[in-house]
Each structure stands twice: as C-alpha cells, then as structure tokens.
C-alpha cells in the first residue's frame, strides 16, 4: 500500500491501542497481543508479537516507538509496518514501499522463522498531552506526577538503567525547562519498565530498534562516549573512569568489541541503503554520541544488559531518528521537523519500513551470517577486479569488460540476495552448503591483497558450480540466468588465484569477441 502523500492525521493513543488489538483479531494465527503495565495515568500499553511457529533457534526483535511524546510519527509508522507485514504474510503478497519490494517468500521467511515484537506506543499519556488542544505539542516525557512539585513528567529515554547516576546530559530537576529529567530512580516509570519486561520475558529477543525523530540518522551504541575496540577494561562498568565519560576528543572511550562494531556499521549501512531505495532519502549511519552525548537511554540499556549480566543474551540495538530537519525560507522549522504535516509524515513512515525489514533479516539466525558472507564476497570480488586490471580500470572503456567475471559475481550476489536467503532458509542442506562454500571462498578472494594469495582448488570450483546449479534449478528465471552466467566463468579459476582467474576469463572473453 503506497501511503506517501496521504492526507490523513496522527492517531490518538486509544486508536493505536485499538489497532494493536485489531492485529490479533484479524490474524489470530500469527499475531498475539502482550499486555504490559498501564501508563502513569492508567492508559493501556500493549505490544504485539508477529510470528508463526516455534523452534529452538528462533530469534526475536523488538521495535519500540513513542517514548518521546512529541515525536509523533513513529507510533503510526510502527502500526503501519505491523499491518503491512501481517497483510503481506496472510495474503502471500509482496511487501512494497516505493521502489523497494520484498517478495512474499521473503516475508514468509521472516514471519515463520522469527518473532517480531512491536511496542508502537510506549508513552500514551505523553502523546495524549501532545494531541490535546489544551496540552503542549512540544511535550517530551510521560505525565508522571513529581511529589511535592507542580510540574509533571519524566524523560523516559533518560530513565533506563545505563549510567543513570552519571548525570551525562540528564537533569535531576523535575521542573527544569530542559525536559530531560531522568526520574527519581532508574526504571521509576512503568513505561520504561515495560521495555525491560519485554526483554526479560522474551530472552530470545536479540535485536531492538527504538524509533525517534528527527535528523535522518541510523544510530548505534554507545551514546555516552566515543567507541574504542582495543581496551576492554575501559568500559561503563569500571568506576575508575567515573566522571570522565560524556566528552568527545579526550582519553576516555567506551569499549565495544570490534565484531559488534563492524556488525552495527555494516547492518546500519544496509538499513540506510534500503531506506534510500524507497524514494531516494539519505540517512546517515553514525554512533549515537555524534548526535549528542547521552546516558540512561534505551539504546545503551538494551545493548549493555549482556555486559552487566553475561547470562543475558546480547541485544544489538539501534536508534533511528526519522525524518530530516525541515527548513522553510532558510529558517529551521523545528515543530515541523518533529511533527511533519501528515502527507509528509506518511512519506517518512514509508521510507523507514525497509529499515525494519533489513534489521529483522540480519538478526534472523544464520541468515545474518549468510548476508554478511554475501556482502563480503561481493565486496572482495570488486576489490579483486580493480587489482586485476588497475590501469585500465581507471582509464579504458574496456575496463568493465576486462573485469566482467568479478563484477558479474558481485552483482549476482547483490541482486539476488533476498532470493538466495529464502532458498537457503527453506532447504537446510542448501543453507549448510551455502554457508560452507562462502566460508571457503572468502579467504581465497580476500587473499589477493596478501603477499601469498591462495588458489582455488578444483574441488571447490566444482562445489561452487554444483551449488549454483541447484540454486538455479530452484530459483526464479532471473536467479537462473545470473547463476548460469557466473557458472560459465568458473572453470578458469581452478588452480589459480582470484587475480589470475579474472585475467584468464578476461582473455578468454576477448578471444571470443
């Protein structure tokens, strides 16, 4: 359903709650409502799980919206995502947003292999206050009464248990105009307790996105300081560094394992690329602190749980800041940035849908590893292509022809990623074989940069050929054609390094002209 440009309106909290309930009524076989603690003012707070089937390797993701009341479009966006996903699965239809399409088979793979938990509106009281003509459109927190004070509200995204006592960009004053009051204690608010409850109750949740506005960013941890990957003891738990966090450009930096950092950047780039595919809007992938330093946010809390208690599974977290800064006549329009007119908001909602899809498939067990393998193999092939024809690549129109084999392989992997994932997911033998082949191929392709490049042995070439043959048999005509083209290039690689193989194919191709 194309929504972009729709002249509707933002939904009140009751409407969002009705639509959460509606998912279970409409699709009881794969949508289940989860009742959470009511809000401070007693409004219902409910999440929904979309997922069919059970399995020991099943993984879950959690999508959260509306923690900040004034950022209106995100709860609507998550509702839209939930209904589109459920509809596409039930009707066995493709899920399209602008120019970006996920096939029905892809949707089926997600819904039947993972649990997608969606809490579209974490802070219904705040939203009601924003929407109420007697309220405040720029309200940020919940509506908690603060004992002994007239002013209300806690900034929920400063109320999570991550460096809560540090004071990094939080206020301890409930009546300060900053709206970043962190509350009387970490998790003092039922609305933040609900997020924790979801993570605790469903320990197979290994990925979380908290959706905010605005800035057009896809952000990953940490928010309290810059990242570093070499000194594990320099971390948020180490009291010796208290007082040093929250500044950029100084000696303290927060430890993050390199593997996680690489994953965040790689998957974040995939999400941004998918967003851009809808209608060309660019989102920047960055570490959260580069928006500004924070503490006690959901982003860092979700990711830090495993480091605080290693018995808890690691949750890989993102914060998406939806929509750009709106500028009118050269002047920033901040109100419109937080609350775009609905026709514009509806386009932003559509833009970010594929980011959710990309996140899910990357978190999905095994598929994530395959995606990474595919990405790396494609990128290493392109790098080998340049090495095979360095001078001509820069100057000659023949360069593309000379590097045809490498480019064909990279393009084949990139263009057919989704279908390859679905095929592999539906066939355990194919899945295993794809994983093994990618694992053996990668180091050989990547070794072209070393002093001692490895050669492909004949058995591996044969194995790749057979795998492509099987994929071609089971795939769509597009996949079959791509696989056939790559298979034609394979034989010259036996006994040769990737560079030698590419040159051989190149020479063969020139002789054939």
């Amino acid at each position: 359903m194309a929504l972009c440009g729709y002249n509707g309106g933002y939904m009140p909290s009751g409407g969002i709650d009705n639509l959460v309930g509606g998912l279970q009524n409409l699709y009881p076989d794969f949508c289940k409502v989860i009742n959470l603690k009511p809000s401070r003012e007693g409004r219902p707070v409910r999440a929904v799980k979309i997922g069919k089937g059970t399995g020991t390797d099943r993984r879950g993701v959690l999508l959260v919206g509306g923690l900040h009341a004034r950022e209106l479009l995100n709860p609507d966006s998550l509702i839209y995502f939930a209904y589109n996903l459920a509809f596409a699965y039930k009707q066995n239809k493709d899920y399209s947003m602008g120019a970006k399409t996920y096939t029905a088979a892809f949707v089926k793979m997600l819904v039947e292999n993972m649990d997608i938990y969606i809490l579209p509106l974490a802070n219904p009281d705040g939203r009601e206050f924003v929407l109420n003509p007697a309220g405040d459109r720029m309200w940020r927190g919940n509506r908690a009464p603060n004992p002994g004070k007239l002013c209300k509200g806690v900034d929920l995204n400063r109320n999570f248990d991550f460096l809560w006592t540090s004071g990094i960009m939080t206020s301890a004053d409930a009546c300060n105009s900053s709206q970043i009051y962190k509350g009387p204690s970490a998790f003092s608010e039922p609305e933040t307790q609900n997020v924790r409850q979801l993570l605790d109750t469903f320990p197979h949740i290994v990925g979380m996105i908290d959706v905010h506005s605005y800035s057009a960013f896809v952000m990953y941890p940490w928010g309290d300081d810059e990242n570093q990957t070499t000194q594990p003891t320099m971390n948020f738990k180490n009291a010796a560094f208290n007082g040093q966090r929250g500044q950029t450009g100084d000696t303290y930096k927060e430890y993050i394992p390199k593997k996680d950092l690489d994953w965040f950047v790689s998957v974040g780039n995939g999400m941004a690329k998918a967003i851009e595919a809808v209608r060309g809007k660019k989102y920047e992938v960055k570490q959260s602190i580069h928006l500004y330093a924070t503490s006690a946010t959901s982003l860092d809390y979700g990711y830090c749980r495993h480091y605080v208690n290693s018995a808890k599974r690691k949750v890989l977290t993102y914060c998406i800041e939806t929509g750009p800064l709106v500028v009118k006549n050269g002047v920033p329009d901040y109100l419109a940035s937080f609350q775009p007119s609905f026709p514009e908001a509806s386009c932003i909602m559509e833009d970010v849908q594929p980011a959710f899809m990309e996140f899910c498939v990357n978190v999905l067990s095994v598929s994530g590893e395959l995606i990474e393998g595919i990405k790396q193999a494609a990128s290493a092939s392109v790098s080998a292509v340049s090495a095979a024809a360095p001078s001509r690549a820069a100057t000659s129109p023949g360069a593309a022809r000379s590097s045809g084999a490498g480019r064909r392989f990279a393009k084949f992997l990139e263009d057919n990623r989704d279908e390859l994932l679905v095929l592999a997911r539906n066939d355990q033998r194919l899945l295993r074989e794809s994983g093994v082949v990618l694992k053996r191929l990668l180091p050989i392709i990547q070794s072209h940069q070393s002093d001692d490049p490895q050669a492909f042995d004949e058995a591996l070439v044969k194995r790749v050929d057979e795998l492509l043959g099987r994929l071609g048999e089971q795939g769509t005509p597009k996949l079959r054609r791509g696989a056939a083209a790559v298979r034609q290039d394979l034989q010259p690689f036996a006994g040769r390094t990737v560079i030698e193989g590419l040159r051989k194919v190149d020479a063969k191709s020139r002789r054939g002209k």
Binding site: M1, A2, I16, P133, D173, N176, S178, Q247, L291, L335
Partner: protein, 117 residues
Amino acid sequence: MRRFFVTIFAPDQKALVALRRLDLDLFGVTPKARGESSAGGLLTEEDIERVRGSGFRVEVHEEYIPQGQKQAKKSAGEVALKDVAGPAAEGGKAVPPVKTMDDKAWLKEFNRRKKVQ
C-alpha cells in the same frame, strides 16, 4: 514562562557538547553553515540569556505558544523580552492543534488501498 524556538551557534562540535551541560531542551545538530556548528532548541528567556552569557550566538526564531494557551499578558518582568529575544520573537501566535484521525478511518483507508493495489 515563555519559550522560543532557537538555533544556537558554536565554533565547533566540541563547544556544542559543552552547551548540552546547561540543562536545556536541545534538538539534534543542524547542518554546519558558514563554518559554525549549530543545534536547535526550545528555550526560555532565562535560558537564552544563560546561553548567550556562556558565549554562544543564539538566533531566536519564533515564540512557541502551546495550542489552547492564550498568549500570556506581559508581566512587568517580560517587558524587556524584545531585548532578550530580538524582534523575530514578537507577535508569536499559538500553534494550531495536531490533525488527528481515528483508528476506524485509518483501517478503512488501509483496506481501501490494499484493494486498489
């Protein structure tokens, strides 16, 4: 307590980080212009004075008056507002309420579009 949408300018990103220690309602950074880093915010008159006192340049856009709240009569203490916020802040009007729709209308529209698809 009157509040204004503002853009605060600083020579670099590091100075903006220092700004965030002043307990303000600040938004994301805005694109760098004329070599300056900047961030948006919603500030009271007192905040604006404090930020300026800390050496930042503040551009005041317009007064933010929540819907339904009539513009407060200027108290004696607010007479000097023009001097604090500049002429752009004069004559602010209450923002209109947000346009809403109910879930039934939303679902009807969703189903209609799915049928068309």
